[in-house]
Symmetry: C2
Amino acid sequence: MVRIIHWGLGAMGTRIAALVRDRADMVSVGAIDRDPAKTGKTLDQLLARVRLPAVPQVLTKTGQVGDRGTGSPSPGRLNGPAGGIVVGSPEDVLQTPADLVILATGSFVEEVAPQVILALEHGLNVITIAEEMVFPEATAPDHAQEIDRMARNRGAVVLGTGINPGFVMDTLVICLTGVCSQVRHIMVRRANDLSPYGPTVMAGQGVGLTPQQFEDGVASGRVVGHVGFLQSLGLIARALGWTLDRIEQSREPIVARLMRETPYVKVPPGRVAGCRHVARGFKNGREVIFLDHPQQVRPELEGFETGDEIRIRGQPDISLRTSPEIPGGAGTAAIAVNMVPVVMAAEPGLRTMADLPLPRMVG
Amino acid sequence: MVRIIHWGLGAMGTRIAALVRDRADMVSVGAIDRDPAKTGKTLDQLLARVRLPAVPQVLTKTGQVGDRGTGSPSPGRLNGPAGGIVVGSPEDVLQTPADLVILATGSFVEEVAPQVILALEHGLNVITIAEEMVFPEATAPDHAQEIDRMARNRGAVVLGTGINPGFVMDTLVICLTGVCSQVRHIMVRRANDLSPYGPTVMAGQGVGLTPQQFEDGVASGRVVGHVGFLQSLGLIARALGWTLDRIEQSREPIVARLMRETPYVKVPPGRVAGCRHVARGFKNGREVIFLDHPQQVRPELEGFETGDEIRIRGQPDISLRTSPEIPGGAGTAAIAVNMVPVVMAAEPGLRTMADLPLPRMVG
């Protein structure tokens, strides 16, 4: 029974907690969130709002986390404020006897590194869905080194994972190169639908802007597109023993020709429906990796099919397609939870998806 | 530099040796084959016959294995009979200072277990493409236990791999379940073209027989279809923590409607062009895994597309397709060689693809 502390109970953190509640081999023993609307509530109260088809919406009699009346885990362990109650102060919760923190607070190493360090100071393993932590060397080598050193000292494991970065554009690609004796070029395209996402994601992708506003937003850094290309490129290169001498990125607006509407945004023709973000990695002056990530709202209205596509040119060629794309939200929550037993069995240190045994669902 | 002994220089073993010759991080230091037509020849002489687009057909001046004039490996290590010359007696070659044996001699645990044991007695790691060794517990738990115990005693690693079993119907499937929080059913279909294969494979698949002869062949065991279903089912179940309570298999003839001809066989209409071999795994009385492997000569003549297809029903659903199939010969040779560095870094014992870090091509 792995004892888990949830740090960050936004959309993703709550989803993850709901999955942990459903696992027989894990138990939630603490929860941290700085949002005053959430502190003081029980995890079960927060999870009751999560509507996931796979998660039975059963509120237990005691209101304790993980107590699904199956006889285990022992209810005693779940009592006390750090068990079922969401607390604002990390230090208070991290005192709780626990094995692992699932960190779902931010995307960037700068944001989460202090949180990772704090968890490590309490001897806890960490799994985070922070995009940049999938391969922190890419943007923050000093933080990566410090985290690795500290994890080894404390006998703990730190892993960044998620659907992308973390799986579609790196882990799955690396796994497929395993059946190649030569890889000349890797192309990955992930075309997905942004319709389920809210205002924050819309803003980061420039949805609803005029094309000119989009270009200005790219220039000013307000339109970021996808966070994860540098990590996917870095992880592939590391795994394959490649040294990339140059990385290029571009962000282009996907302009609507028809009205595209979601619960959160209304994009008339001529406005931006999404962002096509592309990254290219070069080795010895030649492009060897091409990552293409067009993300938009209501792509089906203009006949754009969503899906993940991987093409490896080499010996042999491999051409693979998922249809539709592996969904980002459900997939990220699942892989974060599925990696728990793998992380618990791993050697101490900062690990990547490429260092660890295959991900797999257990249960 | 990993020093490799090649045991078995048939079609696959020769391909593997050609790939090792092309790797900067490995060197072939010995070769074993019982075929009198091969013993006494140098590996380079045998490899000169292999026509692989990815492998430069360079014969070295000295005729020594691995010496591609790049300055390394040191030529001294490659001298002597066990270096470049194919030898019939395993005991003689296994004296050579080496790190790992790549075993490509047979499909079944009963055949290769004594060879694995002999290699372990010499303290050597083993990678084998014997289909049943991908998960030897499935058909030979006693052998598996003995190999595991001996490998641990000797500080060596033993791994069975290949494209199928070893990748398409197990490793890749397990990896994909990593992004699922629930898996209700797994379907894998691998539709491939048998045209490149010779008489042995044709006989095992019943190609050229009448439908009645095919049925008789299935009954007598001469028509075997695919070797690997029990291993793929076992490996998936082990990784996912499932207990299968029943496995069913069926073999059906694929009857030609048009003339299908290859260099090795001519199948007139009404005769068998291939075998559709299916396996089903049941858990708590319900089918949870369906593996479908139609193999035939010249499928394109009747409009059958080849490819690998994986459908996971769960949370979320995943639907993936490669087109065409990942080729069996090239893929098996590549993954056997690609797993060498992974095996060299692994903990001693009998390992499976699901225990080890992701496969990947290095170079």
